[in-house]
């Protein structure tokens, strides 16, 4: 199960494909089926469940497109 998740602000994304090279679990890709309002092909997570919330993608994204959230197990 995912350790966390990323939220992609699609309209800010410029489809530069910089972030995905740093994803240790290789789940980022550009979504060539769509273009955003600025004309770019935006980022998509191909397998959100694998996300380990390391934040590498977000750190590397020049446009602050990605928000990273970590899931915290609630004490039962």
């Amino acid at each position: 199960m995912a350790k966390g998740r990323i939220i992609i602000d699609i309209e800010r994304c410029k489809g530069c494909a910089l972030c995905n090279s740093y994803c240790p679990v290789n789940i980022l890709d550009l979504d060539i089926t769509t273009t955003n309002l600025k004309g770019y092909t935006p980022l998509i997570s191909t397998d959100p469940d694998k996300c380990i919330a390391c934040g590498f993608c977000a750190i590397m994204c020049p446009d602050s497109v990605i928000t990273v959230e970590r899931f915290i197990k609630e004490a039962k």
């Binding site: 410029k14 273009t35 600025k38 004309g39 770019y40």
Partner: protein
């Protein structure tokens, strides 16, 4: 007498400048007067860009085209900007791969070309501009596509020579799209 004023507009990177230049180069080869003039949006990069091309047997005066005879529209913001300027009964060439669900004037000749899709089918998204150009040439008959290809051949030498074939196909596909 040839006298044509066309504005070509789209995103930076869609090759609108090259389209216009090809027209001006072809005009020059035919010893016509011509003027090409570029304009970039306020954004540093990734914004919109357009160029104005005038082709004429007499001297070209104003470089600015107030009322174009044709407009070639590659994206939505460009339609908003230039549709109002197009002369009555002018030609509007629309890249419908990117420009969808829009309001169009009803006093125009409108040609809808899914240029991106056609280009993708041809194997290279980059030739969407040539698809549009093919359509434009077919409708306006300003030049025949062969004259434009001649110019392309002179420009694309060396490693780029391999691109000529696909550009030719794109021109042809554009022509077909408006037949």
């Amino acid at each position: 007498m040839i006298s044509e004023k066309v504005i070509i507009a789209g995103f930076g990177g869609q090759g609108v400048m090259l389209m216009g230049q090809l027209l001006s180069y072809t005009a020059t080869a035919k010893e016509l007067n011509t003027l090409w003039f570029p304009s970039y949006g306020p954004e540093t990069r990734g914004g919109t860009a357009n160029c104005s091309v005038t082709i004429s047997e007499t001297d070209v005066n104003s470089p600015v085209i107030s009322t174009p005879d044709s407009i070639i529209i590659m994206n939505k913001p460009s339609l908003d900007k230039f549709q109002p300027k197009l002369r009555k009964d002018g030609h509007l060439f629309l890249n419908t791969s990117l420009v969808k669900d829009v309001k169009l004037r009803n006093d125009l000749n409108i040609y809808k070309i899914p240029a991106n899709d056609i280009a993708m089918e041809l194997g290279n998204l980059k030739v969407a501009n040539m698809v549009m150009l093919g359509a434009y040439l077919e409708v306006t008959k300003v030049f025949d596509p062969e004259s434009v290809l001649e110019v392309l051949k002179k420009k694309f030498t060396g490693s780029k020579a391999t691109l000529i074939e696909i550009n030719k196909k794109a021109l042809e596909a554009g022509k077909q799209a408006v037949l």
